[in-house]
């Protein structure tokens, strides 16, 4: 009977430990959301490298019409550093050890992924989301937030500029004035930064996918 008593005590301690562990140290890297529960995230300060996805409902409607569910997934990149740097090209250093990807489904079938990222514009951060189709090509890019002067803002928010990203893959050139629209000199720095960021994020995600992440 003494063994049962000790077992009971251990059981109590184990239950408490499990509760604590599940509440505080949950190692889960997946969180799922039905689209009905989607809401716009509130403002607040967040870590520089982790850009929140601010308007899931609107973005899903625009990028993956009919999508009914998404789940957050942390994609670890730290061990893919060499691969990613090589694909990025000269000065292509990995600047994040992980990214959040949101796997989107429609009727239980995967329709692609959404990634949110922050790029340094000339006058402040530009937050964008990009949609990646199951074949690895870009399905679209939408801006979440920017604080550029009107002339620059008009360029980078123009449908002509943003739609030009569609269909690009990690192997595409991403040249402003080439396969992407030319922009006015005043908007060049910001546009370049945004384009570089989109390409970098797409390469990081593509390499991760190639490694089964």
């Amino acid at each position: 009977m003494q063994a049962r008593s000790i077992g009971f005590l251990i059981g109590c301690v184990a239950i408490v430990s499990a509760v604590i562990a599940s509440l505080r140290f949950a190692p889960s890297n997946e969180v799922t959301f039905p689209v009905s529960a989607i809401h716009t995230t509130s403002s607040g300060v967040e870590a520089a490298g982790l850009c929140p996805w601010r308007s899931p409902k609107d973005d899903l409607q625009a990028l993956f019409p009919g999508a009914d569910h998404y789940e957050q997934h942390l994609v670890i990149l730290s061990d893919l550093r060499l691969d990613i740097s090589q694909r990025l090209g000269p000065n292509g250093l990995l600047d994040a050890n992980g990214i959040y990807a949101y796997r989107v489904t429609r009727g239980g079938k995967s329709v692609g992924s959404i990634l949110a990222q922050r790029a340094a514009g000339e006058y402040g951060a530009i937050e964008y989301v990009m949609a990646v189709a199951p074949d690895g090509s870009l399905a679209g890019v939408r801006l979440q937030r920017q604080r550029e002067p009107d002339a620059i803002a008009r360029t980078i928010t123009s449908p002509a500029f943003l739609k030009a990203f569609a269909g690009k893959t990690a192997a595409s050139p991403f040249h402003l004035g080439g396969d992407l629209p030319a922009v006015a000199p005043a908007a060049r720095q910001t546009a370049r930064s945004l384009v570089d960021s989109v390409r970098r994020l797409l390469i990081e995600f593509t390499v991760a996918r190639e490694h089964g992440r």
Partner: protein, 389 residues
């Protein structure tokens, strides 16, 4: 006789009943410990944050002084403003060491999920906040269109010294002069610009949101407050008064919540009492046997009391675990509803709160265990052996 293993074994005979008693106690202890810890943590964090502000009083526009001061301290705007002439009056006062003007403006952009907190300041703020540290490459305002960013603001906007920053709402282009190191205060998320620039950006020339005041001798806060109270269109609020008002508000709310939680503890205690009484009745024959083979009245009393104490102490310990786990969540949930919530984390379960709760649980164990233990000790072996339940 070693009573502890025997008491444990007895509790294990009805594991479900014991578990329910434990859960009831644990939940009430968890809430009680969280409330006590939060109150202590809030008070010490508030003291720390106010100490770091380096001032003893504020001149704010007429209205609710506490609301006004709290909004300014958090970088929020006010409905009305002070004339800048009040600054000259404050600086001329014989007891004032530093009078730092503040103009705050909030630009919410809910469609973009951002809120810009602009704060206009002058050199006096550096004297008021000598603990401000700048990151490498930073310097003070170099011109009217320069901006100093709090650590979080700089991280969110990906800005470094020398970068440009644009305010689309006011069409103002600024250059980042410096970035503050993280301080754990509301400064971390603010954009600081020269006072005149803020007034120009928001078309409020000659107006101030508040004046922060540090005295040469904090002991003179009373006479200085009386004199500054005469400033036209302004009122004085001392931080001691403000903190007192907040702590009184918080204390009243906390007393109510602690009272409710104590009711939960009483209900949990009754559950333990019920468990112990049932145990005495169920084990009457067994106690009779134990008494017949030599267990003294004191021994029977001690056995039942040990069981009760074990139950309440274990419930308390599980409650501490729950409190530690749920503490951050409880903090986040109630933070928006308390005045001048400190920016940094409020300490979780404090040793003082743990000791208080453990003492309470021991007292509860003694209280609810005494009568069943006394009943057990009064059982005559002959009667007990004939007991058929």
């Amino acid at each position: 006789m070693n009573l502890l293993p025997l008491a444990l074994k007895n509790l294990m005979r009805r594991p479900l009943r014991t578990a329910f008693s434990l859960v009831g106690l644990a939940l009430s202890v968890a809430v009680l410990a969280s409330l006590l810890s939060f109150g202590q943590g809030y008070e010490s964090s508030l003291h720390g944050e106010i100490d770091r502000m380096g001032m003893q009083m504020m001149l704010v526009p007429l209205g609710c002084p506490y609301d006004g001061a709290a909004r300014v301290l958090k970088g929020r705007t006010l409905d009305n403003s002070l004339p800048q002439s009040a600054l000259a009056g404050a600086r001329a006062d014989r007891d004032v060491a530093v009078a730092a003007p503040i103009y705050t403006a909030v630009l919410p952009r809910p469609d973009q999920g951002r809120t810009d907190l602009w704060v206009g300041i002058d050199e006096a703020t550096r004297e008021l906040k000598p603990w401000w540290k700048m990151t490498s490459g930073s310097h003070w305002f170099s011109g009217e269109n320069s901006v100093i960013l709090g650590a979080d603001a700089a991280a969110t906007e990906m800005r470094r010294p020398g970068d440009k920053l644009y305010s689309p709402e006011t069409k103002t282009e600024l250059t980042v002069a410096g970035v503050l190191e993280r301080s754990g205060t509301s400064d971390d998320s603010q954009f600081f610009v020269p006072l005149a620039t803020a007034q120009r950006m928001f078309r409020q020339p000659g107006r101030l949101t508040a004046i922060a005041i540090r005295l040469k001798d904090p002991a003179n806060v009373g006479p200085a407050a009386d004199r500054l109270q005469q400033t036209r269109g302004a009122q004085v609020v001392t931080l001691t008064e403000m903190m007192g008002a907040f702590l009184t508000l918080l204390g009243a709310a906390r007393k109510l919540l602690v009272a409710i939680t104590l009711v939960a503890v009483v209900i949990g205690s009754l559950s333990v009492f019920n468990t112990m009484m049932a145990a005495v009745l169920e084990r009457t024959q067994e106690l009779g046997v134990l008494r017949a083979i030599g267990l003294t009245r004191t021994g029977a009393f001690a056995l039942m009391l040990t069981e009760a104490l074990l139950l309440t102490t274990l419930g308390g310990l599980i409650g501490f675990g729950l409190s530690l786990a749920a503490g951050p969540g409880i903090q986040q949930a109630i933070r928006p509803f308390i005045p001048l919530a400190p920016e940094g984390g409020i300490p979780g379960l404090t040793p003082a709160a743990a000791v208080r709760c453990l003492t309470l649980m021991t007292a509860v164990g003694l209280f609810v265990g005494t009568y069943p233990a006394w009943r057990a000790s009064r059982l005559a072996p002959a009667v007990a052996l004939r007991w058929d339940g």
